[in-house]
């Protein structure tokens, strides 16, 4: 992290509470770098988050106005902020359990109505903070606390879900794609339109431990191997990354 970009974080709450190797930390890193490279006005930025490890990315780490809301409801709160004061840049940063499981309904309506907020989903395919229960994006066969023999349910493909709901500016990256993620964040920060990011972050402790990806470095390598850049052809058995 460039020293001059540290003004965007609250140093007094570091080291962060994230586990070693937490992909959400990489998302935070990319977001802060994006702000830094744009010399973004941190006093015209409101970060809204929900409950869960994803909800902690913005609050208390970010040195901006932050609104840490109830579980699953970051998007409606964010809509209130944005509609009441459209001059503010409003970014929702929260986890897959929060934004797409309990909060799924709010996500698809925000996409449908193209509310001019940026929504960044720190998607680690699990409910991490509460000990590792299955979420709406847990892959088939994955072991979690509530699916000890392997998850049976299909996960949401968040890119397809949000696009299907009418969302424009839909992206996916993994924690391996830190630089590409940062560039895309910069695009969204400069646009006053709905944008959605499915960021595959990775949870070494709750997900990785149960699914043979306990080592953070191994998890990042796995993301690198499984990702394919989207060029028009969508492969359901790969992690498609890029803009859709």
């Amino acid at each position: 992290m460039k020293q001059e970009y540290l003004k965007y974080i609250r140093e007094n709450v570091f080291p962060s509470t994230f586990c070693p190797g937490c992909g959400h930390g990489i998302l935070l890193n990319a977001f802060v770098s994006a702000l830094g490279e744009l010399d973004y006005d941190q006093d015209n930025l409101v970060l809204v988050s929900g409950i869960g490890c994803g909800g902690w990315i913005a609050s208390p780490h970010m040195n901006t106005d932050t609104l840490h809301t109830t579980h699953g409801r970051a998007i409606p709160f964010a809509i209130g902020v944005k509609m009441a004061n459209p001059k503010l840049k409003v970014v929702v940063i929260s986890g897959d359990g929060d934004l797409t499981t309990i909060g799924g309904n709010h996500l698809i309506h925000a996409a449908r109505r193209r509310i001019p907020i940026t929504v960044i989903c720190g998607n680690n395919n699990i409910y991490g903070m509460t000990g590792g229960q299955a979420s709406a994006t847990t892959p088939v066969g994955a072991r979690t606390m509530t699916t000890p023999l392997g998850n049976d349910y299909l996960p949401f493909d968040l890119v397809k879900l949000v696009k299907g709901a009418g969302g424009e500016h839909v992206y996916r990256f993994t924690a391996f794609h830190a630089m590409q993620m940062k560039k895309a964040f910069k695009e969204a920060l400069q646009r006053d339109e709905f944008a959605f990011f499915d960021i595959i972050t990775g949870c070494p402790v709750q997900y990785g431990r149960r699914n043979d990806l306990r080592d953070p470095a191994k998890m990042i390598q796995w993301m690198k191997e499984e990702s394919v850049l989207f060029n028009g052809e969508y492969h359901d058995d790969k992690i498609m990354v890029g803009k859709f």
């Binding site: 080291p15 994230f18 070693p20 190797g21 992909g23 990489i26 770098s33 953070p216 470095a217």
Partner: protein, 71 residues
């Protein structure tokens, strides 16, 4: 071009993503456990750094700064 590789050790949590991603093998695990119980990562061969920023960009703890020597 020479680069400084600075790790803020009290922010490092010893995940070793930097060791894994560095194309020039700049990093190694420290030889000792610190007083938080963590074996941090250390830039032991900064002279080999090519400034690709892979470590700094992927550190979940924002602990690594890579900058040109003359900065």
């Amino acid at each position: 071009m020479a680069y400084k590789v600075i790790i803020r050790e009290n922010w490092c949590k010893g995940c070793y993503i930097c060791i894994s991603l560095c194309p020039k093998n700049v990093f190694e695990k420290a030889g000792l456990i610190d007083d938080r119980g963590i074996i941090v990562s250390k830039a032991v061969r900064p002279e080999d750094c090519i400034g690709c920023q892979m470590c700094a960009d992927h550190c979940p703890d924002l602990a690594i700064t890579v900058e040109k020597e003359d900065e």
